[in-house]
């Protein structure tokens, strides 16, 4: 699709084109950065505490910190950034603003209010003056119980994101009226398909919160079925990982080719990938529950099969994105079988950050395949391996792509030049190196059985037995990695803050994204039939979940066999500890 017509907007930044939208996007980005700053710092606290390098919090408070780290980074940081990027993508690619900017502000503010409720209730776990608690970890299923404010906050945040989706759809509908015969522009297509599976998967968690957890926390019902709330959480919990990932994929598809000096290899392939994610993101959640005794092996096997199919779109992405980069490199004069790699713009922090993020994602592909296998999952389940895995995926593939993207987006939405490209380039490298240390050590720790979510994994009368290396060496790598990551985080935030103090610049690049070698006209129109794909996605969910849910309810009851809640005690009762020790000791 060679577009010859030069649009009048070609040399303008996003701020020039859409000043009102740029403000909301900027606010969303800053909300996201704030979550990143606090959450990242808490990550350092955890890493130093676990490895016993530095312990300045009470071990009982570790779980409050862990909850805050998980929620702030995996939910708040990622989703605020996502709504910013998607709003940019929809408006830029449709070349029109949102229908009503007040509506856009409304959903943003709703998400902020939700976040504050959630944040304050978690903080209550360590601040006595706040009569709340939410030490439920970011997975928040029963029997751990939080203060009602925590659940209300989550609901507001999610409903806010639903309204954001509605905003993108409205904008698209308005555009379609004016352009009835056009294909959906690729960035909008990506935002809409992602929104659709977000609606589908968040239904599970909405059900879990509104019907079970919130009434239970309010004391309206006095028991829940923990396995049911777990299953409903994971019904959402796998799809949410793709929700984080899709904006990163969008960046890889529409920004990386441009930054490399080339074009997206194939628009149709990109559409196929996003359709596959719409279809398969949700009916796989049970792969997080391979070790749950209450679910029959057969259902787990179905989830595993779906999961393996889900590898397909990611492998397609690897091919398409790398081929687009190669195209750019060759247009820039690169030659040879692999020599073209040298022609890529490695001095550009936006490019390098995203490319390194993609490289780490490839490594995560391996540990993900291990996680996904039903039998070999037993080896790594709930160990630190899993934490190592998702610091490669959400913690780097997503987080580093977002940070790199920010180096391009913040100038676009503020009209100010990035304070330092040098610092930015250093930052993405330090993050990469830090994560290499931390994540590889976590993976290895998991292999010899070191558990995740444990304040003090040092046991009396028992020593871990690594096949290679020592526990001390692994701890040192985790601590060093965590320090490097925190340094990288500080470099990022410093650059962002100083950028916002910069003067307005008029030498900024125009707001554009990559063209395509093979455009939408090469793909069947049915790919754009969102109703069809949504219908199939719903059918797959019904097929994948009806029987397991029915059998969970049948064996455990809708509200469970009289399960009361646990609120992680601030002071541990020694009698209770003894009792639980007796339970596990033969």
């Amino acid at each position: 699709m060679e577009v010859t017509r030069m649009s009048s907007t070609a040399s303008r930044t996003y701020l020039d084109q859409f000043p009102a939208e740029a403000k909301v996007i900027k606010a969303a980005f800053w909300s996201s950065f704030m979550a990143l700053a606090i959450g990242g710092l808490l990550g350092l606290v955890q890493a130093l505490h676990r490895t016993d390098v530095l312990r300045f919090i009470d071990s009982a408070d570790y779980y409050t910190v862990l909850t805050a780290h998980g929620i702030l980074l995996a939910i708040t940081f990622t989703i605020f950034f996502l709504v910013g990027i998607f709003t940019w993508a929809v408006t830029t690619s449709l070349d029109r603003g949102v229908v009503d900017i007040r509506f856009t502000w409304a959903w943003y503010i709703m998400m902020v209010v939700g976040t504050i409720l959630v944040g304050v209730s978690i903080l209550g776990g360590v601040v006595d003056a706040i009569p709340m608690y939410a030490d439920v970890l970011f997975t928040f299923y029963a029997p751990l119980q939080a203060h009602p404010a925590f659940y209300v906050g989550l609901v507001l945040f999610v409903v806010g994101s639903w309204l954001a989706g509605a905003d993108w759809f409205r904008t698209w509908w308005a555009w379609r009226k004016e352009n009835p015969d056009e294909r959906i522009p690729l960035p909008t297509f990506m935002a809409l398909t992602t929104t659709l599976f977000w609606y589908l998967c968040t239904l599970g968690v909405a059900l879990s919160i509104l019907v079970f957890l919130l009434p239970w926390s309010l004391g309206i019902v006095d028991s829940v079925n923990p396995l049911l709330t777990r299953t409903l959480f994971w019904y959402f919990g796998h799809a949410v990982v793709y929700f984080w990932l899709m904006p990163a994929y969008m960046m890889w598809y529409i920004m990386l080719p441009k930054l490399s000096g080339g074009k997206l290899f194939s628009d149709p392939l990109a559409r196929v990938v996003f359709v596959l994610f719409l279809l398969l993101s949700t009916p796989v959640g049970i792969h997080h529950q391979y070790l749950d005794p209450g679910i029959a092996e057969g259902y787990k096997f179905i989830a595993m099969t779906n999961t393996m199919f889900l590898l397909l779109p990611s492998l397609l992405t690897a091919f398409t994105v790398v081929a687009s980069m190669e195209h750019g490199a060759r247009q820039r004069g690169g030659t040879g079988y692999l020599g073209w790699l040298k022609a890529l713009p490695w001095r550009d922090p936006v490019f390098t950050g995203m490319a390194l993020a993609g490289l780490m994602f490839a490594a995560a592909g391996f540990s993900g395949m291990i996680n996904a296998g039903m039998n070999i999952n037993y080896l790594v389940h709930n160990s630190w391996w899993v934490v190592g895995h998702f610091h490669l995926t959400v913690g780097t593939a997503v987080a580093l792509t977002f940070m790199a993207a920010a180096y391009w987006f913040i100038p676009q939405v503020t009209g100010k030049e990035l304070w330092s490209r040098q610092l930015a380039l250093g930052q993405v490298l330090v993050w990469f190196v830090g994560m290499t240390f931390m994540s590889n050590a976590m993976h290895r720790a998991g292999l010899f059985g070191m558990p995740r979510r444990t304040a003090e994994p040092q046991y009396q009368g028992f020593n871990f037995d690594p096949a290679v290396g020592t526990v001390g060496e692994i701890n040192a790598q985790v601590a060093l990695g965590a320090v490097l990551l925190t340094v990288a985080l500080a470099m990022f935030l410093l650059n962002m803050v100083l950028t916002s103090f910069n003067d307005d610049s008029d030498s900024l690049p125009a707001n554009t994204y990559a063209g395509t070698l093979s455009g939408p006209e090469d793909s069947p129109a049915v790919l754009d039939n969102l109703k069809l794909w949504t219908a199939i996605a719903v059918v797959l969910v019904i097929v994948g979940y009806t029987l397991p849910l029915a059998s969970i309810v049948e064996s455990g009851g809708l509200f469970g066999p009289d399960i009361g809640g646990f609120q992680l005690a601030i002071e541990t009762d020694p009698a209770l500890v003894l009792e639980s020790v007796r339970e596990v000791m033969p």
Binding site: M1, T9, F319, E326, G515
Partner: protein, 67 residues
């Protein structure tokens, strides 16, 4: 309609169209990646056996000398 798609390239020394472009480098990289995956998979089985004694295929252990 794609008015916002990139039109010009600053550092571009040649234009390569869809027909003439053949992503061999990509094929090689993906090939290397698959090779790494296969090797890691094999390695993973060793880790499993090394750590936990005979699990699924006890006989294989003696063959590869790990038991």
């Amino acid at each position: 309609m794609a008015s916002a798609t990139e039109q010009r390239e600053t550092d571009q020394v040649r234009e390569i169209g869809h027909e003439e472009y053949d992503p061999v480098g990509t094929a090689i990289l993906i090939g290397i990646y698959f090779l790494i995956l296969v090797l890691l998979w094999l390695f993973m089985y060793f880790v499993e056996f090394l750590g936990n004694g005979p699990t699924v295929v006890g006989a294989l252990l003696t063959v590869v000398g790990l038991a």
